[in-house]
Amino acid sequence: MSAADPVMAVPNFLDRDYRLRAWLTTHDHKRIAILYALGITFFFFLGGAAATLIRLNLITPDGALLKAQTYNKAFTFHGVVMVWFFLIPSIPTTLGNFLLPLMIGARDVAFPRLNLASWYLYMGGGLFTIAALVAGGVDTGWTFYTPFSTMFSNTNVFLVVAGVFITGFSSILTGLNFIVTVHSLRTRGMSWFRLPLFVWGIYATSLVMVLATPVLAMTLALIALERGLGVGVFDPSLGGDPLLFQHLFWFYSHPAVYIMILPAMGLVSEIIACFVRRRVFGYRFMTYSMLAIAVIGFLVWGHHMFVSGQSLYASMVFSILSFVVAVPSAIKVFNWTATLRKGDITLEAPMLYALGFVGLFMLGGLTGLMLAAPALDMPLTDTYFVVAHFHYVMVGGSVMAYLGGIHYWWPKITGRLYSESWARFAAILMFFGFNLTFFPQYILGYEGMPRRYYSYLPQFQVLNVLSSAGASVLAVAYLLPILYLLWSLRYGERAGNNPWNARGLEWQTRSPPPKENFLEPPVVQEAYAYDQAAPNAGAPPNIGTQVSGGGPGGGTASGGGAAPTGESLQ
C-alpha cells in the first residue's frame, strides 16, 4: 500500500463524516447495516437475558427462582424479541444490507431512503416492545393464541403487538428493496447464474418477507381490535373461531422461519467455498432448492396444528407438503458435504461456524421430519422436543451462520483482522455449549415434559440441570466475540482487500470500502472461480465486460487492477 497512491486519498465509508447526524441521516447501505447491527446485538442480549432467567429457573423442579407469572412473561419476551427483533432481521439487515450491493457490483440498494426508513421502523417497533417490558411484560407466549391473548391476559398485549406490527413494515420494505436491487442493479456481466449463493439466499428470503409479513400485520391488528372492542372474531363465546387465529398466525410464522434460515444457507455457501477453495457443488441445484424452500414454505403452516382440532384431511395434506419441503434442505446439506471432497481445506473460525451450521441444521431438520408425521407429532408437539428442534435450526443454524458471516466479513466491514485463536475457541465452545443445552431437551420432550412450564415433575430434573449448565457455557461463547471483535477495532491488524483470497466482487474493493463501493469497476467472473486467479492479483481471465462509466460517481480508469492486492491471512 503505497502512500503516494492517489486512490488511497479517498476515505472509506466509516471515516467519511463522523458526526452522529451523518450516521442517523445516512443513505449509505453500509452505514445502515451497522446501525442495524447495533440494534440487533442489543436485542440479542435482551432476549438472552430472558433466556438466562428461564434456564436458571428450570434448575429446580419447583421453579423456585421466579414466580409463575414472571416466568410466563420471561418466555414470552424471549420469544418475541428473539424472533422478531433478532432472528428475522439479523442476517438480511446487517450482512445483507452491507454485502448485497457489493456482491452485485452496485453502488447502493435501489431505494436508499427507504432503507433508512426501514431502520427507523425497526427501532421504533423495538421501542414499543421495550415499553411493554417496562409496563410489566406480556404473558401470552410469542404465539399470542386466542382467546387467551384477546380475552384473558391481563398484561399489556397491545404494546407488544404494536411493536411487532411496526417492525413488520421494516421487514416488508427491506424485502422490497432487496428484490428490486437484485433485479435492477446487477453490474454488467453479473447474470443471474453468476450471482453468489448469498445473493440468491437474500433474494429468496426477500420474496418471503414481502409476501408473508402483511398477513402477520393484519392478524396482529385483528388481535388488537378484538382486545380493545371485544367483538368476537376469535372468541368462541361470541361466535368466533380461535382456530382462525392459528391459521392466520402460522400462515406467516411458518414462512418466517424460512426467512431466518435462507440467508444463513446462502451465507454458509460463501464461507465453505472460500475455505475449501472450490465452487459449491451443484450450484444450480442450490439456487433452485432455495427458491423451492421459499415457495413450498408457504404451504405447510398446518403442521403446527396437527392436534389443534384441525381436520384429519387437512393434517394429511400439510404433512405430505412438510415432507416435500424437507427435500431441498436435504439437497443442500448433501451438496455442502460434497463441496468438501477433494478440496483444499483450512479451518479458520468462519469455516468452523459454517461446518457447525451444517451439522446442527441437519440435526434440527431431521427432527423436523419426525414432527412432520402427525402420528409422531401428537405425543411430541408442545413438549421440549419441539423446543429442541427449533433451537437446533434457529440457534445451531441461523445464529451460528450469522456469527460465521460476521467473522468472515469482519475484515471487509471494519478493515481489521480479529484474533483467530480466540475466535476458534469461541466457535468450538459454542458448539459444545449448544449441544449440552439443547440435546437433553429432545429427551425431555420424548419423556413428556411439556413446554412453557415453570415447574416440572421431579424426574425431569437431571436433564434440566444439564441443559442449564450448557446454557451457561453458551452464554460465555456468545460474550467472547463481543470482546475480541471490539478489541480488534482498536488493536487488530489492518486488513487488505482480500485477506481470505476469496472470490466475489466484495473482495475486489478496499477494506473498509469507500462510500461508492468501487473505485474501479469490479471484474465479474463465474461464481466461486477459485480455480482461477483472483482479479486484480495478476492476469485474471476476464469474462465480464467492465462497466463503462455510465452513472455519476462510477469508476474512472478501466479495470487494470489499480487496487492493491490483498494480503492472505495465515
Binding site: R107, D108, A110, P214, G228, V233, G239, L244, G551
Partner: protein, 218 residues
C-alpha cells in the same frame, strides 16, 4: 405551448441511467401492490370466515349499510380510475393542461368518496352501530351485527386511509404536471401513482359486494 423541452428528472446515484431507474421504480411499485393485496387478503379471509359462521346475522347487518351511498361511491371510484388512466395517456400525448385537470379530477372524486363515506359513518353512528362508540343493538343477532360492523369499519377504514393517501399524492402530482415536471418521455411517477390508484379501486370492487350486497340478494 405543450411542445417545449422538459427537464429530464435526475438519475439517483445508485442507478446507471434513467431506464434502470424507471424499471426499478416500476418493479418496486408492483411489489408494493402485491403486499397490499396480502394486507387486504387477510381482512377478506377473516370476513369470509365470520360471514360463514354468522350468515344470518351478517345478512341482517349488511342491510343496515347505506346501499345508495355505497353504490355511488363505487361509481365514483370507477370513474376516477378512468380519469387517471386518461390523464397518463394525456401526458404521453404531451397534453399537459388536460392531464393536469384529469389528475385533479381524480383527486376530487377521491375526496367526494371520502366525504360520502364520512356521511355513512355518521349515519351509522347515529343508529348506534359503531362498536366501541355507543353501540346499542338488541336482539339475537346483536353480536353478529357488532362483529360485522367491526370488520366493516376496519376494512373500509383501512381502504379509506389508502384513498386519502392517493388523494394527496395525486393532487400534488396534478399541480406538478401543470408546472411541467413531466413529459412524454419521463412520467414514471405518474404511471406508478395510477397503478396505486387502480389497486385502491380494485379493492373497493371486492369490498362493495361483500359488505353492501350480501344481505340484499333475492
Amino acid at each position: 405551448m405543450n411542445a417545449e423541452v422538459l427537464q429530464a428528472p435526475a438519475v439517483e446515484e445508485q442507478f446507471d441511467d434513467p431506464t434502470q431507474q424507471r424499471e426499478a421504480a416500476t418493479l418496486g411499485m408492483w411489489l408494493f401492490l402485491a403486499t397490499e393485496i396480502l394486507f387486504f387478503g387477510v381482512l377478506f379471509a377473516s370476513y369470509t370466515v365470520c360471514r360463514v359462521l354468522h350468515s344470518e346475522g351478517f345478512a341482517v347487518a349488511s342491510r343496515r349499510t347505506d346501499m345508495l351511498l355505497g353504490s355511488i361511491e363505487t361509481a365514483v371510484l370507477l370513474v376516477s380510475s378512468s380519469l387517471i388512466a386518461l390523464g397518463v395517456r394525456a401526458v404521453r400525448m404531451n397534453e399537459r393542461r388536460l392531464a393536469s385537470w384529469l389528475f385533479a379530477g381524480t383527486s376530487a372524486l377521491g375526496i367526494s368518496f371520502l366525504v360520502m363515506h364520512g356521511f355513512e359513518y355518521h349515519k351509522e353512528y347515529e343508529e348506534h352501530l359503531v362498536p366501541g362508540l355507543d353501540f346499542a343493538q338488541s336482539g339475537a343477532n346483536a353480536p353478529a351485527i357488532e362483529l360485522f360492523f367491526c370488520l366493516y369499519y376496519f376494512i373500509t377504514g383501512f381502504h379509506s386511509l389508502h384513498v386519502f393517501i392517493g388523494v394527496v399524492v395525486i393532487g400534488v402530482l396534478a399541480i406538478r404536471i401543470a408546472r411541467g415536471a413531466f413529459g412524454p418521455r419521463h412520467h414514471t411517477t405518474l404511471e406508478l401513482a395510477a397503478l396505486y390508484w387502480h389497486l385502491v379501486d380494485i379493492v373497493w370492487i371486492f369490498v362493495y359486494p361483500a359488505i353492501y350486497l350480501i344481505g340484499r340478494a333475492g
